[in-house]
């Protein structure tokens, strides 16, 4: 690639171009978009009220199986609620939780990482110890403990997950910042009398954003699974709001008699997480400069 051509694009633009060229990643991004759209438009496209129980439809099979009907295309759960509608509404919860958690965690983690990596000294030590302390705590024990402490509820789930997720972006940003603070452009800014705040936010931050993006998407997949695990332990979102995790967890007792109740949301999680992983892999391929030096 000629330098002249490369010079015409910003690192971000360059990454986007590489991402666009990656068909798998594009497909994955399309799947995520589809899920997001489905979640957003759930109230209009869902055929039924997701909380509307009809015990006489208990465990009704999907339409293509014997005993199913097209009014309830994916069948019904143990309370006779339409699984398709619950999946659509569940997507809102699962995506919302994942997105909010990852955003908050990324912001906190990035700021902490910048401070630790740029200011060094006691700030770094303090943040480093905090990170170690949180990592020294087994995630599930931590999550269960906090959920027990704060009580059930969507906002508490988000809080519990954020508590630990920020650590991951923090670590990455700290490393990148350590490298960046030795770079010429930082030296130059410092020589021009820029304060630490300016240097961190204006000079270094733009350069550490792509790794944060990659870490954030990778962690998003974990967050979705964690939400499911909390549901398994009875600490998930409150009914009647469906989340995919709680749907899988609640349906597990019927795996033999009514596989669809648990399997369909399981597949939804699988697809979403798969798509997120593939997309983030594409992002990494597109944005990680180390992969393009050759």
């Amino acid at each position: 690639m000629s330098a002249a051509e490369a010079g015409a694009l910003s690192p971000l633009g360059l990454g986007l171009e590489r991402f666009r060229a990656n068909r798998t990643a594009l497909l994955a991004a399309a799947v995520i978009l589809l899920f997001v759209l489905a979640a957003l438009s759930a109230p209009w496209i869902a055929p039924h009220d997701p909380a509307d129980a009809d015990l006489f439809r208990r465990l009704q099979p999907p339409a293509w199986l014997e005993g199913g009907e097209w009014g309830f295309p994916l069948g019904c759960d143990s309370l006779g609620r339409d699984i398709l509608s619950r999946l659509l509404f569940g997507a809102r919860v699962s995506l919302l939780v994942a997105a909010i958690v990852i955003c908050i965690a990324a912001v906190i983690g990035t700021l902490a990482g910048l401070a630790a990596g740029y200011l060094r000294g006691w700030t770094d030590t303090l943040i480093g110890r905090l990170v170690d302390t949180l990592l020294g705590f087994p995630y599930l024990v931590f999550a269960i403990g906090l959920m027990a402490m704060m009580g059930p509820g969507l906002h508490n789930i988000i809080l519990v997950l954020v508590y630990k997720e920020w650590v991951f972006s923090c670590r990455v940003v700290r490393g990148e910042t350590l490298a960046a603070r030795e770079q010429d452009y930082v030296e130059a800014a410092r020589a021009l009398g820029a304060g630490p705040g300016h240097i961190m936010l204006r000079e270094i931050l733009p350069n550490v954003l792509s790794p944060v993006l990659v870490v954030a998407t990778f962690r998003m997949a974990y967050v979705i699974i964690m939400e499911a695990s909390l549901s398994f332990l009875g600490l998930g979102v409150q009914p009647p709001t469906p989340s995919w995790g709680s749907m899988v967890a609640d349906g597990r007792d019927f795996l033999v008699d009514a596989w669809w109740v648990s399997t369909l949301p399981g597949l939804a999680i699988l697809m979403l997480v798969l798509a997120i992983n593939l997309a983030s892999q594409g992002l990494r391929d597109a944005f990680d400069p180390r992969l393009h030096s050759a």
Binding site: R129, T133, G136, V141, A148, A249
Partner: protein, 335 residues
């Protein structure tokens, strides 16, 4: 690693352990739910009896005092009495440890055994259909909720096909004396191959369920480490010497690629140890994880405190082991 470096490391871990103890202590005491009320639930206890019990358990003292007492005792290895079992926490913990450790080690070894060949294959066949297929498989591994996958395995392999048992650690008709608590070792000590096989079969499904996501993660690490090593000059140079492909891959490349893998594996062992409660619950595996979850729900403070401290110590130790392994495998860092 020099002695001073070792001391420094140890010193660094102190605030972590202190921090963890403080967090768990605060978390537990700020959590609503009174262990006394739970213990006396369904009973006809009077408030006076509750007060007596509360005093017996030391729950009537002020918070800072309780924390200091806990710390002081923990230093001497005394973690108090488990509210529910009415026995020393340490004894209760130790009974459950071998099962958890056995499961964790089995899972991590299984993960490595799967991840290394797959990761190497993916790296060697980089950007081919095989690479893509392997990465898709590994993505599946991290995309499944563990409890769901575990139940699915039970239904297929245990109920439908009867290949593996449903749960538990061993068959009851194949008994050996439990010396170490690690069944795989005890059965061999007893020279009972049939019992060893039974223990292994019981271990299979939980270890697969627990190890699969880790295998997927490690396969990625192996792949990227191996891919990086394969572009290195020393691999090219080794090939230029006319060495066989196998020797180049398995000796020259793999030995270097394993350095980050082993490091990650050591740290992952820590997460598996602290993250196996779901698998333990699904498979009725009598380990620490399940005990801790039950203890949190039952507000069995002393046990939760001790267990979390144990996890934190393992985390620190495993990080340390990862460091040692990194050093051991990498002559360059040997100081």
């Amino acid at each position: 690693m020099t002695a001073s470096r070792l001391l420094e490391r140890l010193f660094q871990t102190l605030p972590v352990l202190l921090g963890v103890s403080l967090i768990v202590f605060l978390m537990i005491t700020l959590t609503p739910g009174d262990p006394v009320e739970i213990m006396l639930a369904d009973s006809r206890a009077t408030p006076e009896q509750a007060a007596v019990l509360r005093h017996d358990l030391g729950l009537d003292r002020p918070l800072p005092e309780r924390f200091l007492i806990f710390l002081g005792r923990a230093l001497t290895g005394d973690f108090g009495i488990s509210f529910f079992h009415r026995r020393p926490v340490w004894d209760v913990l130790v009974e459950r440890l071998p099962a958890t450790i056995e499961l964790t080690l089995a899972a991590i070894l299984l993960a490595l055994a799967v991840a290394i060949p797959l990761g190497v294959a993916a790296a060697v066949k980089r950007d081919t259909w095989m690479d893509r297929a392997l990465s898709a498989i590994s993505l599946f591994g991290v995309s499944l909720p563990g409890f769901w996958f575990g139940i699915l395995l039970i239904l297929l392999f245990a109920v439908q096909w009867g290949i593996f048992p449903v749960g538990g650690r061993t068959s009851f008709d194949l008994e050996v004396a439990r010396i170490t608590g690690f069944l795989l070792i005890d059965t061999l000590l007893a020279g009972r191959l049939d019992a060893f096989g039974a223990a292994l079969r019981h271990l299979a499904l939980p270890a697969i369920t627990l190890g699969l996501p880790t295998a997927a993660l490690l396969a990625r690490v192996v792949r990227s480490a191996m891919a990086e090593v394969l572009t290195s000059d020393y691999v090219l140079f080794a090939e230029a010497k006319g060495l066989s492909r196998g020797r180049v891959l398995l000796r020259h490349a793999l030995k270097n690629a394993l350095i980050p893998v082993v490091t990650v594996a050591a740290i992952e062992t820590g997460s598996l140890l602290g993250g196996n409660m779901i698998v333990e619950t699904v498979f009725g595996w009598p380990g620490l994880g399940r005990l801790v979850v039950e203890s949190i729900f039952a507000r069995n403070y002393p046990l939760v405190q001790a267990a979390v401290l144990f996890y934190a110590v393992t985390y620190v130790v495993l990080n340390f082991v990862a460091d040692l392994l990194y050093t051991g495998l990498n002559p360059k860092v040997r100081l």
